[in-house]
């Protein structure tokens, strides 16, 4: 039992890490622009496809493909911000509708370019096995956890100490006040979007080799990432990290006690329970005037 528990905790940390990468991007964008980008899941998926493209067609180095896919998706994020979200600024309803439209547009674009069938991405780290007592994991599993941890640490440092990071925090605290002190909030919007989509691309490119690259691969991480954000507290970066990991670990461990098809229900039941006790989420701050 202890062994199965350990195995599921490690599996949960891995899936949780992927949720964290999605949640981080969404929470940053939400913080700065106050809009939930529902297309974040398909950007995650696009990251997987772009990585597959670079890996099989261009370089052959997985690390390089990973970085290139982040760069490409940062540019896509830039285009989405400039082309879709900025023109609709101030109109939350239309922004949400536009992000739902983006899902259809990007998913069908991918199907048109790569076809509807799942693609395999064969990299060495999924073939190398690491033994932990009697348990064995593909090295890629642990790599995902490690890379996410590094990204989270870098993100905290960036937000805390860098000039741009401080500007992002300032903008998300009070957009008008940030403008008053001379922060170029529109540049902050762009930077945040680039960062967010690059993180989503990293998630997609990391998960692709472990499983498959297919058009619906971003659906579950997007929904679970969103649950993680709600659980951690809307707009809170540490909340997104903790929330994503809690969702990942609980749903994995639950399968030892409940039928596996209840896995998703468990994740959301945990979210509902925590929100009943703490409506602002674990790390959220209650703002006067907001429900």
């Amino acid at each position: 039992m202890a062994q199965a528990l350990l195995e599921q905790v490690i599996n949960g940390l891995m899936t949780g890490s992927v949720y964290v990468l999605v949640a981080l991007g969404m929470v940053l964008i939400y913080g700065v622009m106050h809009v939930l980008n529902f297309a974040h899941g398909v950007l995650f998926m696009l990251g997987g496809y772009v990585c597959h493209f670079f890996f099989t067609r261009v370089t052959g180095s997985y690390v390089l493909s990973l970085l290139l896919s982040m760069v490409v998706l940062a540019l896509v994020g830039l285009a989405v911000e400039r082309g879709v979200f900025r023109p609709l600024q101030g109109n939350l309803r239309n922004q949400v509708i536009a992000s739902l439209g983006l899902i259809l547009a990007i998913e069908n674009l991918v199907v048109a370019l790569w076809g509807p069938n799942a693609l395999q991405l064969r990299v060495a780290s999924t073939e190398t096995l690491v033994a932990l007592g009697e348990l064995r994991f593909p090295a890629h599993h642990l790599m995902i956890i490690g890379i996410t941890a590094v990204c989270v640490a870098l993100m905290f440092g960036f937000l805390k100490w860098s000039k741009l990071g401080t500007a992002i925090r300032a903008t998300s605290q009070d957009r008008n006040a940030a403008m008053v002190v001379g922060i170029p909030v529109e540049k902050v919007d762009m930077a945040t979007f680039c960062l967010g989509t690059a993180l989503a691309a990293l998630g997609g490119a990391l998960v692709g080799p472990l499983f498959l690259v297919f058009p619906q691969m971003g659906d579950a991480p997007m929904v679970k990432g969103l649950a993680g954000i709600l659980l951690g507290g809307m707009g809170s970066v540490p909340g997104a990290v903790v929330g994503g990991l809690i969702i990942g670990v609980t749903e994995s461990v639950s399968t030892l006690f409940l039928p596996t098809d209840y896995r998703d229900s468990v994740a959301f039941a945990v979210m509902v329970l925590i929100l009943l006790g703490r409506p602002q989420g674990l790390f959220g701050v209650r703002v006067r005037g907001e429900a």
């Binding site: 195995e7 599921q8 619906q216 691969m217 098809d261 896995r263």
Partner: protein, 379 residues
């Protein structure tokens, strides 16, 4: 101008010399079932080519060339029903063959009955299809019940209880698990886990299988999830005996994984393309020559389907009367590539079902039935 007239005259002359019979085909040329649809069409095309190469079907002293009237039903029941309607009312074909998807076949079958045109299925495995009392429906291939029965018979002799399952969380998966449970007995059933279509992470099933000390795991799924599940089970260090379905006994499946992970796995199979049986060997050679790849069960079943339709036309002495063809089909015995085909009262044929096993070098051996047992390279 003169040339055109000449050409038209020539065409008219050949048309008169050679009668044609159009045979309906429903299959998937696009959509999620397009890859298996290709195997099905290969089988029909090969059969049509061989019939026509031999001068056509001899019906009452006249030779008829076969012409395939193909409709793409795209794994969509509505498309299937309307294609069937067109074939029977507009194209007026005497017989329709094919289909891949059991749900689509269920929508096509009533149309066949309404218009009195036999529908010969060559791939769908849903057991219910032949239980509806539809006299115009025939199935060449084995149904899921027949496949399960053979597998249960094989497994019973292996001492692999308790048997665990990972299965689709849908009709096919749950139906398959329940069917097997009934055959092997609840007591010999271990862990049963269902996954939703589109799930790719099987890690929770892996932990549960390890915890249940399962001797064997049966995977009720197709190629894509199958390859992921096998990789994850083997990577986690589980030595459990793996039992797979039709989709997992082909070279195509090997390409998704590797021989080391597959070694020892068994799966039921409707057609071992490399078996040392003359009828299979001859077919596989012709198939490979024409299409440049390993023969596939769906192709063999479809090839037999069209040959059977031709035999029915010869026997009934008609290329237009669907009802006469139905009577001919019901009583026909045909030595096909997949084995002897004879429909029972429900329109179901009973071809042999095989169990094959992966060898260390990436070939397959036949373990079941006893009469066809053969070593590595034969499966």
């Amino acid at each position: 101008m003169r040339f055109t007239i000449l050409l038209a005259a020539c065409l008219a002359a050949t048309a008169a010399a050679q009668d044609k019979v159009a045979v309906g085909v429903v299959t998937s040329l696009t959509g999620p079932m397009a890859p298996p649809g290709k195997f099905q069409m290969n089988g029909f095309n090969l059969a049509a080519e061989e019939i026509n190469g031999a001068g056509g079907i001899d019906v009452g002293g006249r030779k008829y060339l076969v012409e395939l009237k193909v409709y793409d039903t795209r794994a969509n029941p509505a498309e299937g029903a309307s294609a069937m309607q067109r074939l029977t009312t507009v194209d007026k074909v005497p017989v329709v063959l094919g289909e891949l998807h059991s749900g689509v076949a269920a929508a096509e079958a009533p149309v066949a009955q309404d218009y009195g045109v036999p529908l010969i299925l060559t791939v769908p495995t849903g057991p219910n299809l032949t239980e509806q009392g539809n006299r115009f429906l025939f199935r060449v291939n084995a149904s899921n019940d027949q496949l399960n029965l053979a597998l249960a018979d094989f497994v019973a002799g292996q001492g692999w209880a308790p048997l665990s399952f990972i299965a689709w969380n849908n009709d096919a998966g749950r139906g398959g698990v329940n069917g097997m449970k009934k055959l092997i007995g609840e007591a010999k059933t271990g862990y049963v886990g269902y996954f939703n279509v589109g799930d790719v992470d099987f890690s929770s099933h892996v932990s549960n299988i390890r915890a249940a000390n399962a001797r064997a795991v049966m995977l009720f799924m197709d190629e894509e999830p199958g390859s992921l599940a096998i990789k994850q089970i083997r990577d986690a260090g589980l030595k459990t005996q793996l039992i797979g379905t039709l989709a997992m006994g082909s070279d195509r499946f090997l390409k998704r994984l590797d021989a080391a992970r597959l070694e020892g796995m068994v799966q039921y199979n409707a057609f071992p393309p490399n078996a040392n049986t003359p009828r299979i060997r001859a077919f596989s050679e012709r198939y490979k020559k024409k299409f440049g790849e390993e023969a596939h069960g769906f192709a063999a079943q479809s090839y037999d389907g069209l040959m059977l339709a031709a035999a029915a036309m010869r026997k009934a002495g008609t290329v237009t009367d669907g009802k006469a063809l139905r009577e001919a089909l019901a009583s026909l015995e045909h030595d096909g590539v997949i084995g002897r085909i004879k429909f029972d009262a429900k329109g179901q044929a009973h071809p042999p079902v095989y169990v094959t096993q992966w060898c260390a070098n990436g070939t397959r051996r036949i373990l079941y039935p006893e009469a066809f047992k053969a070593d590595c390279g034969a499966g």
